[in-house]
């Protein structure tokens, strides 16, 4: 079987990027352990959905996935294989027929996967059964944040790009009952941050009592939130210290920022709270305008 410019061997699946979508990257579990070199952790933002996608195609969780943000790419397959879509529902279809989320799907040569309206969530994950032939840097193929993309050039999808996957034959179809958090207001569990006690009781009460809304600044580095009222903080900074995915910093304007996987490893704003890992998955699926209620937990 002869493709355009490439030979398709047995057990190979090529994905050709016809359209990139808004922001589609290849992600895996990231680069935990290299933060002392100033390297962000990276990796899939909604790890539960990414893991589920890999499970549906019989891959282990360290395998790469496509992280598709709000507006999906158009992909054409050459060869055959199994894929799965989890997380945000972006009305995916193959050759014009809507496909199911959270289920193993079969793809074959000339199939075209398209996305349309975003129905719920923010980020969709696509796993492909087999081994991705993709460059990695520091044991991860996760796309580095915008400014350093040259280190992981093939992990930010580009039009015309070909992704090659060594498939492993057809495995049993798997299905899962997965649903994203659907409440109008997401309860987000947090722990006290390092500077929690630097905030006055009144400010802390305000932080936990009022609702927060996702602003239009939500990306892989961080999510800026707007409250009904800004927190009345005295502008102050700390000597730069560690940020983790899930750290909530309060800017000097009194607005919270939730740091995400691609955040810098250190920062200087007061850290009021830290999200639990499972809450980070919830925030990763939220878009502008969605509301959050912070709930304080204790580290046992």
């Amino acid at each position: 079987m002869n493709g355009n410019n490439y030979m398709i061997k047995q057990n190979q699946l090529f994905i050709k990027v016809l359209k990139t979508g808004l922001y589609t990257t290849i992600q895996d579990e990231g680069r935990l352990g290299y933060q002392d070199l100033g390297i962000p952790q990276g990796g899939s933002l909604d790890r539960d959905s990414a893991n589920l996608a890999n499970w549906l195609v019989h891959n282990q969780s360290f395998n790469p996935v496509l992280e598709i943000t709000m507006n999906g790419p158009t992909l054409q397959f050459e060869g055959s294989g199994q894929i799965a879509l989890t997380g945000a529902d972006i009305s995916a279809s193959i050759n014009g027929v809507l496909v199911k989320m959270n289920e193993t799907l079969l793809v074959k040569s000339k199939d075209v996967l398209k996305f349309a309206a975003l129905k719920e969530g923010c980020r969709c994950y696509m796993a492909v059964g087999g081994t991705w032939q993709i460059d990695s840097w520091l044991n991860s193929c996760s796309a580095m944040p915008l400014q350093v993309i040259e280190l992981t050039a093939s992990s930010l999808l580009k039009k015309g790009q070909l992704i090659r996957i060594q498939t492993k034959g057809t495995e049993a179809v798997r299905r899962a009952n997965a649903s994203l958090v659907k409440q109008a207001i997401a309860n987000v569990e947090v722990f006290e941050g390092p500077e929690f006690d630097r905030f006055s009781t009144a400010v802390k009460q305000q932080f936990f009592n009022q609702l927060y809304t996702m602003t239009n600044r939500f990306d892989r580095m961080g999510c800026l939130l707007a409250g009904e009222d800004a927190l009345t903080v005295v502008p102050s900074e700390i000597i730069s210290s560690a940020l983790l995915p899930g750290t909530i910093q309060i800017t000097n304007a009194g607005q919270p920022i939730i740091m995400m996987q691609d955040a810098p490893v250190t920062g200087g704003y007061n850290r009021i709270a830290v999200l639990d890992r499972s809450s980070l998955n919830v925030v990763a699926q939220m878009c502008r305008g969605q509301r959050i209620q912070f709930v304080l937990s204790k580290v046992s």
Binding site: D36, G38, V148, R277
Partner: protein, 235 residues
């Protein structure tokens, strides 16, 4: 020293909250101890000016166990690897010193005085951060203190050497940035896939050596040909 949980799977160790070589040496010692110990369940270390954060897997190690390790790390003396001293060639030619005018205005010094002060002292890598390979070097001579630019640049050229407040740094990659640029180094500060990936690591001693534009291009060429002798940078 203060130890507290930082979420469910990290602890933050805070030393006296000061920027000083003495405090930083404490950070470095504990960081080096944990780096060498390879304790099961310790997943990442984030050393900074006066703190060390340890990210761990709570199914493999507990906070009390980590506290015990911290105690033994503290009591072990002089387990620090010899700190490296790195010489960084730096060209202060006007083509590269994009903000020299502004720095001259803010400090009231001439360009040659600024260069003399900037090359006169040894700096310490206090922290890696901002972007991969970016080293926060301090402390700058107080005569050179100036504020950040009012509007950050969209794209700082890679290799740019800049100052802001008490710090100086090299931009290893072309990124947005708000520091005042006074020169450029021909070295690549982030080495793609070759360990140790970053030219700098925390605790290194660094000093700058002024080179002219001819030497700048010579070094660039040698690096391109892969015949640059890296050892000459280290004392």
């Amino acid at each position: 020293m203060l130890i507290r949980p930082y979420g469910k799977e990290a602890i933050l160790i805070e030393f006296d909250q000061l920027i000083s070589p003495k405090i930083h040496q404490e950070v470095l010692k504990l960081y080096t101890f944990f780096k060498n110990q390879n304790i099961e369940g310790v997943r990442s270390l984030i050393p900074a000016y006066c703190s060390l954060t340890i990210v761990f897997d709570s199914s493999k190690v507990t906070i009390p166990q980590l506290k015990k390790q911290i105690e033994s790390g503290k009591s072990e003396l002089a387990n620090l690897n010899r700190q490296r001293r790195i010489r960084i060639p730096l060209c202060y030619a006007p083509d590269f010193a994009l903000d020299m005018e502004e720095v001259m205005q803010q400090t009231g010094l001439s360009a040659s005085e600024i260069i003399a002060l900037h090359t006169a002292q040894e700096y310490r890598v206090y922290m890696m951060g901002f972007v991969p390979g970016f080293a926060y070097l301090g402390k700058l001579d107080t005569a050179l203190y100036c504020s950040r630019k009012k509007m950050p640049r969209q794209r700082v050229p890679s290799g740019a050497v800049a100052i802001a407040a008490f710090q100086t740094a090299v931009y290893p990659l072309s990124t947005p940035g708000g520091w005042q640029i006074i020169g450029n180094s021909p070295l690549p500060f982030l080495k793609g896939s070759i360990p140790p990936f970053s030219l700098f690591s925390i605790g290194d001693k660094v000093f700058f050596e002024a080179i002219d534009i001819e030497q700048y291009h010579q070094i660039k060429q040698l690096i391109k040909e892969d015949s640059f002798e890296w050892e000459q940078l280290y004392d």
